[in-house]
């Protein structure tokens, strides 16, 4: 299916940019006018993935995070990618409550939140190379207007 709009943004792994990434995805969605709930779900999932790249992917190092969004008539696909340290065991990482950083008050709920709020989630990662999260969501609110 042909997308109706697309964009990609690259930003530094600074925690200030968590809010930046949320505003960018909201601005990109403004043209299709999703419901408040749909927008909240997407902003939250983006926040989780970007935070993971910052704190787990890069840790104390600095690096670049890439967010790519493709908008379709009734859905959005979002890819968030880092070139950080990668995930050794993806199944373990995606288990609810698993976290490698309990001392940072992480709760291991990031992937669970992404899975719950989005319609699909896939994680691709290689130790020492980086991590790419791909999520998509259908807009139920827009189905009728097609």
């Amino acid at each position: 299916m042909q997308n109706i709009n697309e964009m990609s943004v690259i930003f530094s792994s600074k925690s200030e940019n968590e809010a930046f990434a949320r505003i960018v995805v909201s601005a990109f969605l403004a043209q299709i006018d999703p419901t408040v709930n749909e927008l909240n779900d997407i902003k939250t999932a983006v926040s989780e993935a970007v935070t993971n790249s910052i704190i787990h992917g890069y840790g104390n190092d600095s690096g670049q995070i890439k967010m790519r969004c493709e908008l379709f008539l009734d859905a959005i696909t979002i890819e968030i990618e880092d070139s950080g340290k990668g995930i050794e065991n993806i199944v373990e990482a995606m288990t609810p409550s698993f976290t490698s950083c309990p001392e940072m008050e992480r709760t291991g709920m990031g992937f669970t939140v992404m899975e719950t709020l989005m319609d699909s989630l896939s994680v691709d990662s290689k130790k020492g190379v980086g991590t790419k999260v791909v999520m998509s969501k259908k807009f139920d609110s827009l189905k009728e207007c097609k």
Binding site: S15, E16, E18, A19, R22, N37, N40, D41, K43, T44, S47, E48, T51, I54, I55, M104, E105, R106, T107, M109, G110, T112, V113, T116
Partner: protein, 121 residues
């Protein structure tokens, strides 16, 4: 993000406003813990009524404060009306250990009951 404190019937009330993400929790944690140590209040109410956004970093913030307050022998209650935030909170099963109330009055009452139980009354 902003945080202000006041007291309501001996409970330390922490009003958080704005967005709670990982960036915000670093500051919030320090400020709340400092206040908790300086005041000798044992009970804390986290008032999220004016929070416009929260991701799982907020779950960590809540559970972390809960542990600290329990460490002092106290209890913690949440005030939250927003459905999106309630959903994030309930994903982690927080409502099994922490009361989620619609307003501060209710939170105060629930803490009174909890404290009696904790004290074995």
């Amino acid at each position: 993000m902003d945080v202000t404190f006041d007291f309501f019937k001996d409970n330390l009330v922490v009003h958080i406003s704005g967005e709670i993400d990982h960036h915000a929790t670093e500051v919030l944690r320090t400020r709340i813990d400092k206040k908790l140590i300086s005041e000798k209040s044992v009970n804390m109410i986290l008032d999220l009524s004016d929070v416009s956004f929260m991701d799982s970093s907020g779950i960590g913030l809540i559970i972390g404060r809960f542990k600290n307050v329990r460490g002092f022998g106290g209890n913690l209650a949440l005030v939250c009306k927003d459905n999106h935030i309630k959903r994030i909170v309930s994903l982690a099963g927080i409502e099994k250990i922490i009361e989620i109330c619609n307003d501060i009055e209710t939170a105060v009452n629930s803490l009174k009951i909890k404290n009696k139980k904790t004290a074995g009354l």
